[in-house]
Amino acid sequence: MSTAMNFGTKSFQPRPPDKGSFPLDHLGECKSFKEKFMKCLYDNHFENALCRNESKEYLECRMERKLMLQEPLEKLGFGDLIGGKSEAKK
């Protein structure tokens, strides 16, 4: 957060996330997907563009387990990964 004596400068305004907060995954239901994603990141030198499939799968896992609100994947920025699959989620 901004420190003291910043009277003239603009201070950082944190914004709430667009879709709210992720419920905590207490039971570790999507842990395997997370591990896959992390491994992919490590292998690809932390380039996000190469691991988008894994992140999509993680979010799908969350949506299935009710740890995340159901959203069409296009709205999450995965429109290019869906391709021919018809995702009738909503």
Binding site: M1, K10, F12, Q13, P14, R15, P16, P17, D18, K19, G20, S21, F22, L24, D25, H26, G28, K31, K34, F37, M38, L41, Y42, H45, F46, E47, N48, A49, R52, S55, Y58, L59, M68, E71, E74, K75, L76, G77, F78, G79
Partner: protein, 276 residues
């Protein structure tokens, strides 16, 4: 005493007052008085006397019979000056009125500025927090800017009174604007009691923070960790594609996202926006 304003002395008093400016007319008249008694011989001596006082300047003393002199007026003795003074007074009053009106208008404007500014922010989208309706349609339609790679580094902090182990699971990630990305933090509660924490975040550099959009994360809501529990906390975010078009962001290649966890106590609220 005959008074200072005896007709015979009137002119001299007036002149004396003009020269000996800091002094009072009374004292000037007293000093001048001996030289101007009618017994004194001639105006020449009077003038000499006044010269002796060292104060004779341009004052002219036409020899006038006292009875013919006009009734006295205190400060000015001719209509011109009085009209001038009146006009100045009038002008001063008008100016004062205008100045007071401007001051009151400024005060009113400063009060009106708050809602007006909020309105302005909502329409133009500046200022970040007052933007209405920008989220999911934009994500759907945004195109990644593939030639601008940004490194996002992650930082995790914990308030001193919170005993969690909180750390990011990756030190950095490379994204491009317009591409959604996922990152993980991990938190462990090593104590034997359930602890509730609440977090907030910060983005450095400050100007890049307005382009950093979180779709979903774990901040601003109370998160409860049971004893000895360890959880993964994801952050799903993207950098606004307009980042690539902002000239101030040309040299920005590193954005640091920093989360800080605090302990949530009863009745203690974080001074940050929640959404509930």
């Amino acid at each position: 005493m005959g008074g200072l304003w005896h007709p015979g002395w009137r002119r001299v008093t007036f002149c004396g007052w003009r020269w000996i400016h800091p002094g009072s007319p009374a004292r000037a008249a007293e000093r001048v008085e001996p030289f101007l008694r009618p017994e004194w011989s001639g105006t020449g001596v009077a003038e000499k006397g006044l010269r002796w006082l060292g104060t004779w300047k341009h004052c002219s003393l036409p020899a006038r019979h006292p009875a013919l002199q006009p009734p006295r007026r205190p400060k000015s003795s001719d209509p011109f000056t009085r009209a001038h003074v009146e006009e100045w007074r009038q002008r001063n009053k008008t100016t004062l009125t205008y100045v007071a009106a401007v001051a009151v208008a400024m005060l009113g404007a400063s009060y009106a500025a708050v809602p007006l500014y909020r309105l302005y922010c909502q329409t133009t989208g500046l200022g970040g927090s007052a933007v209405a309706g920008h989220a999911s349609d934009q994500i759907e339609n945004m195109v990644p800017v593939k030639d601008r790679i940004i490194k996002i580094s992650f930082n995790a902090d914990v308030h001193a009174s919170l005993q969690w182990n909180f750390r990011p699971q990756q030190t950095e990630i490379y994204v491009v604007p317009g591409e959604t990305a996922l990152a993980f933090y991990r938190a462990k509660n090593p104590t034997d009691k359930p602890v509730i924490g609440i977090s907030t975040y910060n983005v450095v550099p400050f100007e890049a923070g307005q382009y950093f959009n979180k779709i979903q994360c774990f901040c601003f809501e109370e998160q409860r960790l049971n004893p000895q529990e360890e959880v993964d906390m994801p952050v799903f975010f993207y950098i606004d594609p307009e980042f690539a078009e902002d000239p101030r962001m040309i040299n920005v290649d590193l954005i640091t996202l920093s989360y800080t966890f605090f302990e949530a106590k009863e009745g203690h609220t974080l001074p940050v926006p929640g959404y509930n």
